[in-house]
């Protein structure tokens, strides 16, 4: 965890060894969402609003248990609700807490042209710095999860911070603290992966969810928010979680090879015209009526004779 320097080294009057002494821990943080134990209570939604200081928005009832159709610039966290009937006619409610996934290879950060508008911390949190945001919304284009949301009033983009302010102070994110069922966990990436795999194995062995697995997509080099799903083969059933999210190749093209080609072409153009000036120089103005030099090949357009003197005053 981030409070490494405050790890206990010695304890007064304590029998036996010091717990945790000389262990080194992974600094990468991770949120684990076990969707199999989510009851859709939305305590995390409320905790998120409270911690971030946003007023509760109007809800949109669309005949489901979902608060509104999509996350918003001031509503980072949304329980997505889907009804699903499998091939045997078994009916289930699928609830998924949707928020920023904090990708290890963040498409938003790749696409962003503004210096310092998006930072990725060593612990894996991807955070937007609205002071530096220019409102171009390239991050929206770069994100495979449709997370960044634009505020048309301030012309800035917002998203889940993974409570970087709380985590920086050694606390867990607000949503974790509010969860009543223990479906949300927070810790190091290694620990959360281990816990998630244990839970998935338990589901496979002791329940009918034989395809249970952990969602930590490799296409974005893994995420710092991971899910345990009943059926890892069909993440799209959980409110459109992409099966194989990647930074769009178009973004990689215009942030990669196109930049190199364009920079090279512009530099070559400037060097080229400078070289032309040195080699050939400016075009000299000939006196009116000068004939082409003797012996030169006549141009394809016949050159006219000199204008007669005195035509113009």
């Amino acid at each position: 965890m981030a409070n490494g320097p405050l790890q206990i080294k010695a304890i007064s009057g304590h029998p036996g060894t010091v717990p945790g002494k000389n262990t080194s821990r992974d600094y990468d943080v991770c949120k684990l969402i076990d969707v199999t134990t989510c009851i859709g209570c939305k305590a995390c939604e409320v905790a998120c609003l409270e911690w971030n200081g946003y007023p509760f928005r109007e809800t949109v009832f669309d005949n489901t248990y979902q608060t509104m159709p999509d996350t918003a610039w001031n509503y980072y966290n949304l329980i997505r609700f889907n009804e699903f009937t499998d091939e045997n006619g078994n009916f289930s409610w699928l609830m998924r807490k949707d928020q920023c996934m904090h990708c290890a290879d963040p498409g938003c950060l790749r696409a962003c042209p503004a210096d310092g508008a998006i930072v990725q911390y060593a612990n894996g949190i991807v955070d937007f710095q609205q002071d530096n945001c220019i409102g171009c919304q390239y991050c929206v284009t770069g994100c495979p999860f449709n997370i960044p949301k634009f505020n048309p009033t301030t012309k800035k983009v917002y998203k889940c911070t993974l409570c970087s302010d709380r985590v920086g102070a050694g606390l867990e994110p607000a949503c974790i603290k509010a969860c009543p069922t223990g479906c949300l966990h927070f810790g190091t990436k290694d620990d959360m992966k281990d816990l998630a795999e244990t839970r998935a194995a338990q589901l496979r062995e002791h329940t009918s969810h034989k395809d249970a697995g952990v969602y930590d997509p490799a296409g974005v080099s893994g995420t710092h928010v991971i899910y345990v799903l009943h059926d890892i083969n069909h993440p799209e059933r959980y409110g459109g979680l992409p099966k194989d999210p990647r930074v769009p190749w178009m973004v990689r093209l215009w942030k990669g090879p196109l930049k190199w080609i364009g920079d090279f072409a512009m530099a070559a153009g400037i060097i080229g015209v400078a070289a032309h000036y040195i080699r050939f120089g400016p075009k000299e103005v000939e006196p009116e009526g000068l004939k082409p030099p003797e012996g030169s090949k006549p141009p394809e357009t016949s050159r006219p004779e000199s204008p007669k003197a005195g035509v113009q005053k």
Partner: protein, 227 residues
């Protein structure tokens, strides 16, 4: 309306009117709006050029004005089109010139075919900027208001950013040559586009067929070799 037709039939001694007041104004509207969009656009294009945005009032400010000034550039370009549409038509004279571009570029005047009011290269640049401006606007609208593109069509945004960058790079290529030629390669051009006047020798050297026409030594159709 061909602007050349509005030129005085008897220019005062020594100089010819190359560009009317209206033409000079429209040139500098497009020129300055293009320069602003170029500077702010390059700031968003490359992190190494982001300082350009700071110099122009800050990056969010640049993001706000870039599309609006860009619209000004397009409107200037369309106004210019209304003035120069006829002058910029590519004719047989230009095709001959374009076939001998190498002679022009290497300052081999004897082998360079004569040209009208604008030579083949100027006309190519004109059409590059006109179609470039239209393409930049078309793609730019999507970049201006991306929040109105529904998520299932999100890929459109990526395509439009690519298109915007490619179109911008094409116009930058033309722009580098345009500025180099007018400032360094063809002395007298800057005077022409600021004061409107060129010397008779300048006109004779660079735009012989136009010179002959406006000095009354050649038919005024301007098409072909009716010298």
């Amino acid at each position: 309306m061909s602007a050349a037709a509005a030129l005085p039939s008897t220019p005062h001694a020594g100089v010819l009117e190359r560009y009317t007041f209206k033409e000079r104004i429209v040139h500098w509207i497009t020129g300055l709006t293009y320069l602003y969009c170029l500077s702010t656009g390059l700031a968003f294009y490359s992190p190494h050029l982001y300082w350009l945005a700071y110099m122009l009032g800050g990056a969010p400010t640049s993001r706000f004005w870039h599309p609006i000034v860009g619209l000004g550039f397009l409107m200037g370009t369309l106004w210019m089109h209304s003035l120069w549409r006829r002058d910029m038509e590519i004719t047989e004279v230009d095709k001959r010139w374009l076939n001998q571009t190498e002679a022009y570029v290497t300052n081999n005047e004897a082998r360079t075919p004569l040209s009208e009011r604008f030579n083949g290269g100027q006309k190519l640049y004109y059409w590059l900027m006109l179609y470039g401006a239209l393409l930049l606007l078309l793609s730019g609208i999507f970049l201006w208001f991306p929040e109105y593109i529904p998520r299932p069509s999100a890929w459109v945004r990526g395509v439009m950013i690519l298109l915007h960058e490619v179109a911008a790079l094409a116009t930058i290529g033309g722009f580098i040559i345009h500025v180099y030629m007018s400032v360094f390669m063809v002395p007298g051009s800057m005077t022409a586009i600021t004061t409107g006047h060129v010397s008779r020798a300048w006109a004779w050297t660079h735009h012989r067929l136009w010179y002959l026409r406006v000095t009354g030594q050649r038919g005024v159709t301007g098409q072909g070799n009716d010298i």
